[in-house]
Amino acid sequence: MSEHQRQENGREERLILDLLDGRGDEPAALAAPVAPAAPAADAEVESGLLREYVEVLGLLPRALAEVRPRAEVKERILEAIGRGENTVHRPTGSPATTPRAGWSKWLLPLAASIAVATLAVTGWLVIQVQDQRVRIAELSEELGNTRSLTAELAMSQGMLAEVRSRLAMVTAEGAEFCALRPPAGSPASGARGVVVMQAARNEWFLRIEGLEPCPQGRKYSVWFATEDGAVAGPIFAVKAGEAIELTVSGRPDKINAIMITLESEPAPSAPSMEPLLFGDERMQLL
């Protein structure tokens, strides 16, 4: 190998290695002037050789399979150069959900329209809910009033039924009355009472007013005086200013008198004190 050939080989090696090692947008061998110290003929040869090796580098990727970029890559490039930007921003998120460029100009107005529509619908719904709440409150109040009226009506009906029952008892054939009065020396001097007995229905009705409230641990007791002795009737308590009305089924036969006493609990089998109220005069109205 001649010296000239060795020099040519050396230049070729340098060209190739510079091309492969080149950094930046152009390989160093491309950017540098071609062999400045070489004779003109050699420079021409070297320039041609350089160009051929450059094209070899350009041809190498053709051995690879081409890969088609996604459509949005091109759109982003065209958008970027339209905006005069130096870099292209890759949208985050799934490529499948990336909006197309043609849509992007509609996105903001569309979002604003949706927001306004949503606000309007929300406002309308809020007003509707408020109206419904007012209506529900009104209906609740009406329902409360109706329930109160129904309770009062039921109570009135109960009272009316009781009055009718007592009226029926009082007006029934064979009904007897017995007035209860305080005997002389009774501490219940202001109390009065009446007993209505209806022999055919075996029921009797007691009404007393003017008794003092019961002391702690004691209650009033009804006694029927018969030929066999005193028979205990119902016991009851009295609150201040309250009248007592009792409708009772069942009573002993051959009653001579009716008494009211104040007894300790539990009630004894016989009166423990003089009667507070006493009645032994029975009479029929008709």
Binding site: R51, L59, L64
Partner: protein
Amino acid sequence: MKGSAESVKGQMQSPEGVLVERTAGGDAEALAELYDRFSGMLLGLAIKILGNPSDAEDVLQEVFVQVWKQASRYQRSRSSVSTWLVLITRSRSIDRLRSRNVKRRTASDAQRENTRFHTSPEGLGNVLMEERHERLAQELADLPDQQRQALEMAYYQGMTQREIAEATGTPLGTVKTRTLLAMRKLRLALEGEIEDLL
């Protein structure tokens, strides 16, 4: 500010050269046509280097934005348009590979990720392109394994001859010789293709 069409050096005769000239004049449609012609090949190259389709797409975008801004710097006397684009893409990809510490992936990983993308039907449908693809693939396959390995490490991984020597445990001189032999064989084998590009 875009350069004017007159600032493009050299006379533009190839269709791609005309597109670059129009791009230098601010014609976005010309850039779009360049993209349509070369994006498939350039994305394949970027994926080969980066092993990551997402990063490769980013590089592809950067390349064409750069072309838009610097089309006036293209010199027909130095390279064909396709080679100019390839060298820009390779340089950008290697820069990203190093500066961003992109995780290198195995060939199988890259292949698996490539399934998200589609092989360009336009490219494969073009008989000339397909023939060129097969020719290049065959010429590379015909290279001795060690020569092909040295060339691919330098070209696709941006490794210097010294780095290849260290990585393969081969003397530096041997690596250089393998690389040079590979390039010389390819230059001779691809003489016809190179002639078409000049």
